[in-house]
Amino acid sequence: MQLRVALRNCGFIDPESIDDAIARDAYAALAKVLVELKPAEAIEILKESGLRGRGGGGFPTGLKWEIASKNEADQKYVVCNADEGDPGAFMDRSILEGDPHTVLEAMAINGYCIGASKGLIYIRAEYPLAIERLKIAIRQAREYGLLGKDIFGSGFDFDIELRYGAGAFVCGEETALIHSMEGERGEPTFKPPFPAESGFLGKPTNVNNVESYANIPVIYLKGADWFHSIGTGKSKGTKVFALAGKINNVGLIEVPMGTTLREVIFEIGGGIIDGKKFKAVQTGGPSGGCLTEKHLDIPIDYDNLIESGSMMGSGGMIVMDEDDCMVSMAKFYLDFTVEESCGKCSPCRIGNKRLYEMLDTITKGKGSLEDLDRLRNLCEVVKDTSLCGLGQTSPNPILSTMDNFHEEYIAHLSDKRCPSGQCKDLMNYVIDPENCVGCTACGRVCPVGAITGEKKEIHSIDTAICIKCGACEEKCKFNAISVK
């Protein structure tokens, strides 16, 4: 069911050995392209393959290269975006740590196709092992003449340097990434001009994500038709996902486009932990949305996910079960975007903060039904008016939970109740007099002395003192304590 294209070498080679990589065809595609193909022909193959950007946007990679190739300049740049920032996502990291040469090779092909002699990898400093392995790989490739001057005697020169990011989520946005590489503040600027026209140091620049690059050498070796045959209508090839959350098998998977969520979660992922009920899966990270039971049989591809109210994103998949509160989940993501917004444009800087505050009010049982309209209106405004992709997508977790779990919002707002029992302000621990035997165990474990009761008499919890830590519930052997 899984098909490893981007991850084809991860775990099979010693990532610090270029010979291992070459034994599994590394740099063969580069040789083929440099020796046999003109740049325009190579771009045509990529276009035919149907590869789309794996970083989240899904822009056709071949078209991107073609645009960059047509902009004349004395210097152009190829940039690999290795600023993986979605919570819980580590696809790019695994590729860089497991198969760094495939990225170098693809960047060199990219350089040849668009006429760039310099490549830069923008990588977050929090990935020290990936950085180390890239350094080793670059050194080895230079020693073997696979980077540097006159590669394969073709007259094509190409070399790669590393640039480090400090782990700001917004620096995954390509204009912010470029500013960060230039030593400026990592803030996005409006497009146009697109990087393909004016990017790093004002020169035409092609930015692609790590996973996109990892697909490229195989396309040239096995052909555009082979790649094109995998996947669905407008989404070709495979996609790597990082499975996380309430699922039995967490970790990276790679499946052909068109695989259903049901296959991913219940077959590959082994279903929900403790046999609990599946509730939703968040795809696309903080920019995406949640998908539910009714979406389980939809084939996963760029367009279907968008149609279902989520997005592909970089490939994060966080699975939630019946115990998860969807309002809190949306709040978690908003907390992330409030922190990670660069603060440049007002809807993203202030709007997300206000959205967070509204969700916080709801989870504390202080909201009213009118909040729902205000919440939705503000979500739309933040989406419609933000400067970059971060703000244009940050309300998605709210909108999709509002659409799919409307009744949960209503419960919080009108009944002041959290159906999953996650929102601390909306729950109380109570002792069931039927089951309590007066063993005093709960009273002894309570850190704040909220539980009173004599031995062998029914105990009670003072909700004014209780901090809802749940220690009593865990301690009680008679199932006498529960959340109401």
Binding site: A168, V170, R185, E187, T189, F190, P192, V338, E339, E340, S341, C342, G343, K344, C345, S346, P347, R349, I350, G351, N352, K353, R354, E357, R374, N377, L378, V381, K383, D384, T385, S386, L387, Q392
Partner: protein, 596 residues
């Protein structure tokens, strides 16, 4: 690159504009105003406030009119329901992080956010108010107050400080909702490279950056019967004060302004132009003496090019940025400070007053002058030479507070002494003006003839080009100046500190050689100063400049050395230019400062 015409529709009305035009400008051509906050025509486009969003048919997201260029067949709606809702939301969001204490705000009535809130009838705050006690107010500088609680993070100030001034005292720090406009390590402005030029104040749409005001101290001095108040008015104030009082830009209101100052109760209303003329005598003499030392004495210590020293923003900039060029700066104090030093010495003696009874006040187009007046170098009278500096804006406030009907005031003349001026003194207010005034005098001293330009208007030094060059050949020199015979005096002029930096880097690289350089810190010179009426734009500065040159043409005397009171002060008090007394009172030296 050749420009093509692009056809589009805005609010259903077809229009053709040049390729590359923004939606904002195209809409303006059709007389549709799209509101803006972060946009300023002097600065690069940031597109961060999002107030200017408009709807483009076929695009789900709204687009920022200030940033997006038109394209063929585009259909734009500037006032659709979606646009109005988004705009109102954004204004409400901005207000939610803004200290909306409008009635107590210095910018009340001249605040772009306030106007928009009014225009969109923003009612009760829909969103919680973020503004708590966490914001700091930096009021340590004698020139500028920075109040973060008012800041809407449009970054106009940052772009001003970086692009126009290349000072970068202000920068963006932190991210997300904690993002703020900050300085090096959050130090107060007075401790960093800030030049106090106040250009940020001129462009701040709200009250986050304002000048420190000394209005109450000045009123107190006026009302104190034991004090004699002397007020001086800078050249650029007279062509801009009208904008504070309901006139269009570019009106010359010297006589009315003097009349207003008298009605305000100042004991003596005098003119900084007088000391501008005196500066020419001192600085011209200094230049000629430097040239003599360089050309005749071959003195290795003499530093050429000599630069002007009238702009206190430029002085602070060179102290931080090019300290190795401090010996090139003319030792002359600025006209304001020359005036201050003389007010408490020469003027006091002539009027039979004690220096300690004089309160010396200046009306300046400038915020850096407030800092300059506070400098320890500026106490050569034995007292603070200039006690209080008010901006053009503050003078406007005083006139309004006093209930003076400015438009009906009679034309009034300056008092004497130190009230006489010439056309050369007036043009100090425009970029190139000091250079022109100096050339008019120096040329005549050296050759005995007027400068060889039509009606002595030295047009090559005028204009709004960032850096300008001019050469004047000295021919037929008088015997005393024969060593200058045939010398082509090479001059350069820069306005705006970014241009000053470019010019100084060129000088440093040895690619250019000049004898004399004029630098004014502000775009357009003093007429575009940080204390001038808000708003500012190239169009407004052009109008003020032409008013200044009209003022010059209308003066009976147009050369500094012909100012009768200047002649008188040398005879009665100073002796000769660059003489001993001048050096004590009118000259100074500056010191190197840190680079951050």
């Amino acid at each position: 690159m050749s420009k093509y015409t692009v056809n589009l529709k805005i609010n259903e009305i077809p229009i053709s504009v040049e390729e590359g035009t923004t939606i904002l400008k195209a809409a303006k051509e059709l007389d549709f105003r799209v509101p803006t906050l972060c946009y300023h025509e002097d600065l690069c486009v940031a597109g961060n406030c999002r107030v200017c969003v408009v709807e483009q048919t076929g695009s789900k997201a709204l687009v920022a009119a200030c940033a997006v260029p038109v394209s063929e067949g585009m259909e734009i709606h500037t006032n659709s329901a979606k646009v109005r809702s988004a705009r109102k939301h954004i204004i409400e969001l901005l207000l939610s992080e803004h200290n909306s204490d409008c009635t107590k705000c210095y910018k009340n009535g001249n605040c772009e956010l306030q106007s928009l809130a009014h225009e969109y009838r923003v009612g009760d705050h829909v969103f919680a108010d973020l503004v708590t006690g966490k914001h700091t107010i930096d009021n340590y500088s004698p020139s500028i107050i920075k109040d973060d609680s008012k800041c809407i993070r449009c970054q106009r100030c940052v772009r001003t400080c970086t692009e126009l001034q290349s000072v970068s005292a202000l920068a963006v720090a932190y991210k997300g909702d904690k993002q703020k406009i900050s300085t090096f390590l959050d130090h107060p402005l007075v401790e960093v490279v800030c030049t106090n030029c106040g250009q940020c104040i001129n462009r701040c749409p709200v009250g986050a950056l304002i000048e420190k005001t000394y209005l109450e101290q000045v009123w107190d001095a006026i009302n104190d019967p034991t004090k004699h108040t002397v007020v001086q008015t800078a050249p650029a104030v007279r062509v801009a004060i009208g904008e504070e009082l309901g006139y269009d830009p570019g009106n010359r209101l010297t006589g009315k302004m003097v009349g207003a100052l008298k009605r305000l109760g100042f004991d003596s209303v005098l003119d900084t132009d007088f000391t501008a003329d005196l500066t020419i005598m001192e600085e011209g003499t200094e230049l000629l003496s430097r040239l003599k030392r360089a050309l005749v004495d071959k003195d290795p210590d003499v530093r050429i090019p000599m630069t002007t020293s009238c702009s206190p923003g430029w002085i602070k900039f060179i102290e931080h940025t090019f300290p190795e060029y401090l010996p090139n700066v003319s030792t002359c104090k600025s006209p304001q400070q020359m005036f201050g030093a003389l007010a408490k010495t020469y003027y006091a003696r002539k009027k039979g007053l004690k220096a300690q009874d004089i309160v010396s006040i200046s009306i300046m187009p400038c915020t850096a002058k407030k800092y300059e007046a506070d400098r320890p170098e500026m106490r050569s009278s034995g007292y603070k030479d200039v006690d209080y500096v008010l901006t053009t804006r503050e003078l406007g406030d005083m006139i309004k507070q006093a209930g003076i009907n400015f438009k009906n005031l009679p034309e009034t003349n300056y008092d004497s002494i130190m009230g006489d001026s010439t056309g050369a003194g007036v043009i100090f207010g425009a970029t190139g003006g000091v250079m022109e005034a100096a050339l008019r005098t120096a040329y005549e001293i050296v050759t005995g003839r007027e400068v060889p330009f039509d009606n002595i208007n030295i047009l090559p030094v005028r204009g709004m080009e960032g850096i300008r060059e001019a050469k004047v050949k000295l021919e037929g020199c008088l015997a005393e100046w024969s060593f200058l015979e045939g010398v082509e005096v090479s001059c350069a002029i820069a306005h705006g500190l970014a241009n000053a930096r470019r010019l100084m880097n060129a000088v440093k690289s040895g690619k250019v050689n000049y004898h004399f350089i004029e630098v004014m810190a502000c775009p357009g010179g003093c007429l575009g100063g940080g204390g001038q009426p808000i708003p500012t734009s190239k169009e407004i500065r052009d109008k003020r400049a032409s008013a200044i040159y009209q003022e010059d043409e209308n003066m009976q005397i147009r050369k500094s050395h012909e100012n009768p009171e200047v002649k008188q002060i040398y005879e009665e008090f100073l002796g000769a230019p660059n003489g001993h007394k001048s050096h004590d009172l009118l000259h100074t030296h500056y010191t190197a400062r840190n680079k951050y």
